[in-house]
Each structure stands twice: as C-alpha cells, then as structure tokens.
Amino acid sequence: MEQFATMKRSKDGQPIRYLIVDDSVFARKNLARMIETFGGQLAGEAGDGAAAITEYDRTSPDIVLMDITMPQMEGIEAAERIVQKHPEARVVMVSSVGYQENIVAALQRGARHFVQKPVKPEVLYEVIKYVMGEDGSVANAAAVGAPGSAGGAQ
C-alpha cells in the first residue's frame, strides 16, 4: 500500500487518532491499514452507531470515519448524536451509498465530509487533511514527495 507524508496534530505533533465505525470487520481493517499509511493511530473501533457514541466518549478521537448503513443505529444518527454532545467532533462519513440526499442529510446533521466506497487512499488522505485544517500538519512532505503541505483549507 502506498505510503503518504505523515499527518500529525499541529498542537502537539502527535499522530492523528481515528475512531473507525463500520459493521464490516473487513472494511474496518482496510481503513485501519490506510490510516497507518497516513501516520495515523487507531483510537478505537465500533461495529454500529450506538457503540460509536460510547467509543467516542471513551477515546476522544481526532477523526471519526463513520459508515452509514449499520445495524442498531445508522451512521448519520450516530454522527448527529456525537456532534450534539461534542461540537468539535470531526466526523467523516464513509459509505458505498453516496446519493445526494444521503450526503446532504449527513452534512446537515453534523458530518464534515463524505467519502464514497470503495475508498481511494489518496482521496481519504486529502479529505482528512481538509477536515483537520489548521489542527493538522503534514510532516516531511518534501522528503517523501507527497502532495500538499502543512494544514488544509477550512
């Protein structure tokens, strides 16, 4: 898998911590491998929306990667509940179901961005950079020749 320029938190230079929420273990593992190539750290995993809320409270991640169609509680509702409780939460929806209504609903209810499956690592990387904005920085970009520089547009 391609290696990207390491993205870190601007405030302390520590790796960006991710909560990955998907009912498919296979999908979670794939995303976990991707964020490793970004220099990120897995803060936690959840298999449905309800567990995601609990895991968010427990781990306080920098980014949540949230599937939409899941048992118990779907991702859009979970995103809304997380953002209501933690307005600073950065939730990125990651779903194969990418029709307009779904995207608009997710963004209206607190998600910061949307990535359609199958996920292209380079797309997810750019989305993370954008969503982190000035709270994220790209280290050794010149050394590995990765696109972009510190921070992202907000």
Binding site: M1, S24, E101, K117, P118
Partner: protein, 166 residues
C-alpha cells in the same frame, strides 16, 4: 427483465472490482435463468424493496475470495471462513451501494436490506417475472458471479405507497 435496472449494477460491479483489484476485467458469460440459482462458493444475497424490488447474489469460491480480500487490503491476510464471508459481504455492499446511488439519483426510492448468507445449494426458482441475469466477471483474482433479479414494483411506482431509503 428491465435492463435499465440491471445496468447500474453491472457498471458498479465493474467499477468496484476494477478499482479494488487494480486490474481490468471482462464479462466471461452472461445468461438469463429461470431455474433456481446454484451457488458456486460463498454467496451473499441482498434484497431491495420499494420502487424497485428484487435481489442480487454475489458468489465467489473460497480461493477467489481470499485473493480478492488480499488485493482489496493490499496486504497478506490469513485465510479463514470469516475472511471469505466478510469479503463477499463487503463486495456486495460496495457494488450495491454504488448502484443504489445511481438509481436513487434517477428518482427511485427503495430500501436495501443487509446482506445475508445464501447457503442453500439451490436458490429460489425464478419465474417469467423474476428471471435472473447471471454474469461472470473474469478477473486476475478469479471469477466473480453476480446474479440479479429485479423488477419495478407496480404499486410503489404508481405512487400508492412511499418507498424507503437505504
């Protein structure tokens, strides 16, 4: 069989497999079947209800599923029944999610049910209304079979009831 309903699934399968496997692929065989579906390996079935009703079955033999999983993950993965099942389910989710996106943007509303293991040797027997299109995608990782039976829901399409969203 309404090809306008089937085409988004073919396009989605082509796109998802080509991207995930990073290779070109071809449709090796294509047939219409009224007979019961006979699975080849691990099969996941997804039902759709609403303006459009029907089901899609994805079917991979174990060796192909492991190779597909490794290509999708970009890493060596230990072979297991769980990995095979997860791969077939995730492939079904991604293809159907992409096809649903296209159909929804065309104005169709329906609910996609979670994939279930299609573990009987024979599927349901088709009929004139529900005949299935069976196709085989030939990839570098092996053959991926997709079986689609889809039709308009006449009650829903007349607007007598509201369809759901997945």
């Amino acid at each position: 069989m309404k090809m306008e309903l089937i085409q988004p699934f073919i396009n989605a399968a082509d796109a998802v497999l080509a991207q995930g496997l990073a290779c070109s692929l071809s449709i090796g065989s294509l047939s219409m079947e009224e007979e019961a579906y006979r699975r080849k390996g691990m099969a996941a079935m997804v039902r759709l209800t609403g303006d459009i009703e029907g089901r899609v079955i994805f079917d991979l033999d174990k060796e192909t599923a492991v190779r597909v999983a490794r290509r999708f993950a970009g890493a060596e993965l230990p072979e297991s029944d769980d990995l095979v099942r997860e791969t077939v389910f995730e492939l079904a989710n991604q293809v159907i999610g992409n096809a649903v996106t296209t159909l929804n943007d065309q104005g169709f509303h329906f609910r996609v049910h979670p994939p279930v293991l299609h573990d009987s040797e024979h599927g349901e027997k088709g009929s004139e209304d529900t005949e299935a299109l069976v196709m085989c995608f030939e990839t570098a990782s092996g053959n991926v079979f997709m079986n689609i039976a889809m039709q308009y829901n006449s009650v829903q399409s007349k607007g007598l009831a509201a369809g759901g969203h997945s």
